[in-house]
Symmetry: C2
Subunit: 155 residues, 2 copies
């Protein structure tokens, strides 16, 4: 099998969840980027669909059930994660109406933070999540999708 | 490192290239699905961005330079490929204006075929490519993105 002879990027997922003018972030409990803010997300397990991984990771890290709205993009710049070549499918999600609790940090998240979209440019994020959130602002206007090398000035 | 302890899906890419009322397909030279039609695509190598893999595979299999327009979806149903859990980022692309040649089968492609979108429902495709092309028709109307389990009737 071809895939046994070659190495491939490892897939992760991340989700942007906006409520009002804020988006939901988690403060990372572990390295890499320990202490920095990141979108809720994590590794996709073998046998698990990416959409299910996105919902599972959001639930594990923030206690919230979410629904997925669209795919924002797929980010796979080889140096975006210091652990190796790790790619991310990034979803736009929303909080399900059936949640009985507010967001509460768990698992790999030390803390939950709601950040105003206006503060994004002045905040230090883990990985390439600042670019991703910046692309999300463009997505809201144009509906276009994104990837690491997309020249996004005009979108 | 967490990713060393778990198994993860292996990433591939596929691209939908429409010209007039037809889309570009390749007849598979090898198993699985040898002899069936598939979108141009293949495995993403470690160190390679998904967008670059999509352009490389289109070039290798059809001899054409392409440009990427958008991401249609990410398909990761665990049983979509009999070789194992293989996920695909599917791009919508177009033929670059700088091509000096027509599509010509190469590499893993035994033959190039241009299929009318109207014939898609009556054609037997490799993998889940019939569903992907059906989602593409919806994408053209709605601009929405897709994944394996998305209930797409209303999109």
């Amino acid at each position: 099998m071809k895939e046994q002879h070659y190495k491939n990027p490892i897939p992760t997922v991340d989700t942007i969840i906006q409520k009002g003018s804020q988006i939901l972030l988690v403060k990372r409990k572990k390295e890499p980027f320990k202490g920095l803010l990141a979108l809720p997300g994590g590794f996709v397990n073998e046998g698990e669909r990416v959409e299910d991984a996105a919902k599972r990771e959001a639930k594990e890290e923030t206690s919230l059930d979410i629904e997925l709205v669209d795919i924002l993009g797929v980010y796979s710049e080889p140096n975006r994660d210091p652990r190796g070549h790790i790619m991310s499918t990034v979803f736009v999600g929303k909080i399900s109406s059936n949640n009985k609790v507010d967001a509460l940090a768990q698992d790999d998240a030390a803390k939950i933070e709601w950040i105003n979209l206006e503060e994004v440019n002045n905040t230090h994020f883990a990985f390439d999540h600042q670019k991703i959130i910046s692309d999300y602002e463009k997505w809201k206007r144009s509906g276009r999708t994104f990837w690491s090398s997309r020249a996004s000035m005009l979108l």
